[in-house]
């Protein structure tokens, strides 16, 4: 993308539709703010339930983002650069969690990695290790729904990448791994970071797959979204307060990172 700027008045049609589009996102936030018990907010957000959930949410979403990075970048590279039979099928399967209802993903994870699952059962028999109803289960559920965002972003960047630098490095005798590490990775850096932020944000908000695969227990598997869900049916003030924490944390990170990372290019 070039950064050429054309100074011209914006067409009003686009402005009107854009404003309506923005309202879709702004209105619910206003709704949330009108229901917020501001005077009791401090007391509500420092309750045990909220503190436990916030800590768990931060740990699991960051771990999920890190795992997505370590596994997702190589996966994106393979999808972009290695021509193997069935590649488009693999690509579709990798992006499936973006479309699938997360509850379905959670159930599928349970059938695969649960105590009676195809992989889970032999694993449990051999090691006694169990993923469901554990913090590990939360992380896996998060990775499942979040990693596609990183893979899609990075793969698009890799396919749009001008191959000349890599080719030059290769002719100078660099191995393929060195080319990847020293040339490719720095060039797609902005996209990797954008994908990482998207994946982290998706993991932070994850609900359906987590509640289905990892269950819901305060301090062990109850992340912020799960705490909101439970509180919504019990004590609306707490639910609104937790929602506000979630909005604040997400918004702060997205604002901070978007300005620093996304404006530098790496557009898909």
């Amino acid at each position: 993308m070039t950064s050429r700027r054309i100074r011209q008045r914006a067409p009003w049609q686009l402005l009107v539709l854009g404003a309506i589009g923005a309202a879709v996102f702004v209105l619910p936030l206003i709704g949330l703010a009108t229901r917020t018990p501001w005077s009791r907010l401090g007391e509500l957000v420092t309750s045990d339930v909220v503190v436990d959930a916030l800590r768990l949410s931060l740990i699991t979403s960051l771990l999920a983002a890190a795992i997505s990075l370590v596994l997702g970048v190589p996966l994106a590279w393979v999808l972009a650069r290695v021509d193997f039979p069935g590649r488009s099928v693999v690509r579709a399967i990798v992006t499936l969690p973006m479309v699938l209802p997360p509850v379905v993903g959670g159930a599928a994870l349970l059938f695969a990695l649960g105590r009676r699952g195809v992989v889970g059962e032999p694993l449990n028999d051999a090691t006694g290790f169990l993923l469901p109803f554990s913090i590990g289960g939360v992380v896996i559920a998060n990775v499942f729904v979040a990693m596609p965002f990183l893979v899609v972003t990075v793969e698009a960047a890799l396919r749009n990448l001008d191959g000349r630098h890599e080719a030059a490095a290769a002719t100078l005798g660099a191995s393929r791994l060195t080319v990847f590490r020293r040339i490719t990775l720095p060039m797609i850096g902005p996209s990797v970071r954008a994908g990482l932020v998207l994946a982290w944000a998706r993991a932070l908000g994850e609900f359906g797959a987590t509640v289905t695969f990892a269950g819901n227990l305060q301090g062990r598997t109850q992340t912020l979204p799960l705490a909101v869900f439970v509180a919504l049916e019990q004590d609306r003030d707490t639910a609104v307060a937790i929602s506000l924490v979630l909005v604040a944390v997400s918004l702060a990170v997205l604002l901070l990172l978007r300005d620093r990372w996304w404006s530098t290019g790496g557009d898909t």
């Binding site: 649960g114 439970v230 049916e233």
Partner: protein
């Protein structure tokens, strides 16, 4: 970019179409029912619709607490059937319904997967930390009733998960992912993959299901007819066949 925009347009169109389709013909009665009523009300829906072919019953099945919130937030429902009186009382207190009537009762049972992997024999096993124990969350009736039963037995459960409604708990027991849970007797009866173990005879937990026509029912006649049908001989027979007792 263009490809992505096209996809977004397709998605948007799909959402719009799916949300406004199918409601144009005939009357609709929207029934909000506790998830423990899933099987009973699915059968009642069929029987009611064959008795009243002009009316289309739509069931919204979820945890009673979710339904209560939806009703209090103005969901356009006609009938509410709750799994406990407290949830119904909140709806009555808010003026969303004027009267309710108890149409069925239920009991609790300890439920285990068919092969009973945790070798559970009674309520005391729920305190075993080595077992995977699931209950319904405290916010829904089955969770409140289960805690009453545990308290009466003097057992402090070592809970591994608090499920959002009884269906979610039953599903995890059926899948063999949990060793033991406390669910309704009707859930045990309707499932081929879990088996029930009786609670101590001293357990005194009354599970009464109230039903009410909602004040803001868009289809008052349909709502009244549905409530009458549930209370009729035919409706009660269906409830009995799915394990509920008459009040």
């Amino acid at each position: 970019m263009i490809k992505r925009a096209a996809w977004s347009a397709v998605l948007f169109a799909a959402i719009v179409l799916s949300s406004c389709g199918g409601q144009d013909e005939g009357e609709v009665v929207l029934v909000m029912a506790a998830s423990s009523l899933t099987n009973a009300f699915s059968e009642i829906e069929l029987a009611f619709e064959s008795a009243h072919p002009e009316i289309d019953v739509q069931l919204n099945l979820a945890g009673s607490a979710s339904l209560r919130e939806q009703i209090l937030q103005g969901a356009p429902a006609d009938v509410f059937a709750s799994a406990n009186s407290a949830t119904m009382q909140a709806v009555l207190d808010a003026g969303e319904a004027t009267t309710s009537v108890t149409f069925a009762t239920n009991t609790l049972q300890i439920a285990v997967p068919l092969d009973n992997p945790g070798a559970v024999t009674g309520i005391a096993d729920l305190a075993n930390e080595d077992l995977l124990v699931g209950l319904c969350g405290e916010q829904v009736p089955c969770g409140q009733f289960a805690r009453q039963a545990l308290e009466q037995a003097g057992v402090v459960a070592s809970v591994d998960t608090n499920e959002g409604d009884v269906r979610a708990l039953v599903t995890k027991l059926e899948a063999g992912e949990l060793d033991v849970g406390i669910v309704y007797a009707t859930d045990v009866l309707s499932s081929n993959e879990i088996t029930g173990i009786a609670l101590p005879a001293t357990t005194d937990v009354v599970v009464a299901y109230p039903i009410a026509q909602l004040t803001n029912a868009a289809n008052e006649d349909g709502a009244r007819q549905f409530v009458e049908f549930v209370l009729s001989v035919e409706g009660q027979a269906i409830l009995a066949s799915t394990g509920f007792a008459s009040p």
